[in-house]
Amino acid sequence: MANRPCPACGASVQFRSAAPYAVCPYCQSLLVRRDATLESIGRVADVPEDFSPLQLNTAGVFEGRRFTLIGRIRKAWEQGSWSEWCALFDDQRLGWLAEAQGDLVMTFERPLEQLTPQPKPGALARAKPGNNLTIEGRRFTVTDVKAVVLLGAQGELISCPPKGTAMKSIDVRGPGMEFGTIEVTADETSVFTGRFVEFAECRFSGLRALEGWTPPVAAVR
């Protein structure tokens, strides 16, 4: 846990993780940590309001390990938008908890070398639903390819789509509940894999109150 001054407005910004990006809650500057330096690379919009029960500092459990939501990105594509929460685990590992279409998906970053076939330059840009690939020896099929833009962000983040340009997001599905995303920008490619999770499975605490609704009994079914 560390507090550092925002290079843009000087306000104290809290860092709980080793995540490279953070949004200053006072001036909405997007900050990048490179070694010891903290740099502001522009401003991002605040996340739009929504009716999600999740909020910053909501805690949960995934496969026996506790996590806390420390950041959020709101991403949009041509026909919709969704949230991705940055989850900080007790062992300092970071994951993404995507919240879309009423589903929750927990994914973790995988080394790019584990993606086969290794994408030649431009190959991923031509990915289509139905293509097969392997990540860490597990087989996946492409189900969706979208151009994605950033709508807003808050808190600490593993990565953040560059402002102004679209990122290509390739969704892949594995057997059972396995899910993955390959994110391609001009500069880099990232691979994330994980699976769908049930709301009750996560045993959330610190949820946002929703008028007229109570959370289901927090028990793994």
Partner: protein, 428 residues
């Protein structure tokens, strides 16, 4: 503080649903799944609105009037133990059939579907897995085998409210349904996207109680409607098998205990000079109560015999009267040789108490010349025989209801498959 309340942070005020005004017609609409839904069709004018971003944008303007919804948007109800709110409604149709689909939302559990089709209700949950068919064309999921019921290309007639994709009137998908009552798996393919939904049949009163809606009378049989006779059937078959085993047990016990002892009585003679009333015995029946058989036989040839018999208890004088009669005719005509009748008859004498008895027989006979027959009639008495009639009557009583239920099961299944092109019951 309950377990569910402690999972909610008490700091901020509760978030409420957002009310916005439609950019096309100005009517106010409530966004109940903000952040999860991406599109809303204005309930007043049906214009398509993009609600996936902070500002509400018009996608496509319409000026449609929508008929009153069976379940109004915003209605909440508890199904399968969880509360849901109706946030969207649409009607789809294919080949002249129309049905309504209501999108349900729970902020913690996500989306579900409530489908109404001709009085039948189904609760739909989208599957995340992509299922694949076995080579034989069946589908296995959740430990059940699903059989293909039908396929078609349903089209959206209208849609109002919030949805998690941009649905428009006129949208068409390729759809296939597979059934394992009370479940149905529905596959929808649009472009490259596959969506599997599992539907569970709901009884109308469950939906009426949950959403305070009146459900009209059901028409025909729904593809995944559970067969009411089937549920009774398994229990009834269990009972029937138990009863049959017990019946066989009783019958075997009876058979083992039966004496079946034969008492040969000799002959009844129609010879001239012999008295018509002939007495046989005395003989003893030692079983406390018994079923006995008197068998009379003769080598008849186009003749008949009729014996008036009396079984008389030598001590009490109690008499049981009965008739033993038989006839046998044969000949030959244009179709070949024929015969009619028997050369013997067996009389059953039930519930005879133990005792000593005489048998008194007075007989008449005739041949084709109306003369008494020449042959003697052989008389044989079997004491304490195994009754078979009781056993078969009991078996009949036991199997009647299961057979009736089996017919009902079959009739229901025929009706179920009458709506399908893939019916295993051929109609020709």
């Amino acid at each position: 503080m309950s377990a569910s309340e402690s999972s909610v942070a008490s700091a901020a005020a509760a978030r409420t649903a957002k009310v916005v005004s439609c950019p096309a017609c100005g009517a106010s609409l409530t966004l109940r799944a903000l952040g999860q839904s991406v599109m809303a069709a204005c309930p007043s004018c049906q214009s398509q609105l993009d609600v996936s971003r902070a500002d509400v944008r018009l996608i496509q303007r319409y000026r449609e009037q929508v008929t009153k919804l069976r379940i109004p948007l915003g209605t909440r109800g508890v199904l399968k133990g969880e509360r849901f709110e109706v946030i969207g409604a649409m009607q789809r149709s294919v080949s002249g059939y129309r049905w309504e689909e209501y999108l349900l939302f729970n902020p913690y559990l996500g989306f579900r579907w409530l489908v109404f089709d001709a009085g039948h209700w189904n609760f739909g949950t989208m599957l995340r897995e992509n299922l694949s068919l076995s080579p034989s064309g069946t589908l296995e999921y959740g430990g059940r085998k699903f059989t293909k019921f039908q396929s078609g290309k349903p089209v959206v007639d209208w849609a109002v409210g919030e949805f998690y994709w941009r649905v428009t009137a006129g949208d068409r998908v390729n759809s296939s349904d597979y059934i394992a009552p009370p479940f149905m798996l529905s596959l929808e393919k649009a472009d490259d996207e596959y969506t599997w939904t599992q539907l569970e049949y709901l009884e109308p009163d469950e939906v009426e109680a949950a959403f305070h809606v009146h459900s009209p009378a059901r028409d025909n049989v729904a593809p995944n409607q559970p067969n009411p006779a089937s549920r009774a059937m398994s229990r009834v078959v269990q009972i029937a098998l138990t009863a049959l085993v017990l019946a066989i047990g009783v019958q075997v016990f009876t058979a083992v205990r039966a004496r079946s002892s034969t008492i040969s009585l000799g002959n009844y003679s129609f010879e001239k000079g012999v008295a018509p009333e002939q007495v046989y015995g005395p003989f003893t029946f030692d079983a406390p109560f018994s079923l006995n058989e008197l068998t009379a036989s003769a080598g008849l040839n186009n003749s008949w015999v009729e014996l008036d018999c009396s079984l008389v208890n030598t001590v009490t004088g109690e008499t049981r009267e009965f008739t033993n009669a038989f006839s046998f005719y044969q000949g030959s005509d244009s179709d070949g040789p024929w015969s009619e009748g028997d050369r013997h008859d067996t009389s059953l004498l039930p519930t005879i108490p133990a005792g000593t008895y005489n048998l008194v027989v007075e007989g008449a006979s005739g041949d084709d010349h109306d003369q008494r027959i020449q042959q003697p009639v052989s008389l044989s008495l079997t004491h304490d025989v195994v009754p078979w009639r009781n056993f078969w009557l009991a078996v009949l009583a036991i199997v009647a209801y299961p057979l009736y239920l089996a017919l009902r099961v079959h009739a229901f299944e025929r009706q179920r498959w009458s709506e399908s092109d893939l019916s295993p019951y051929s109609s020709d």
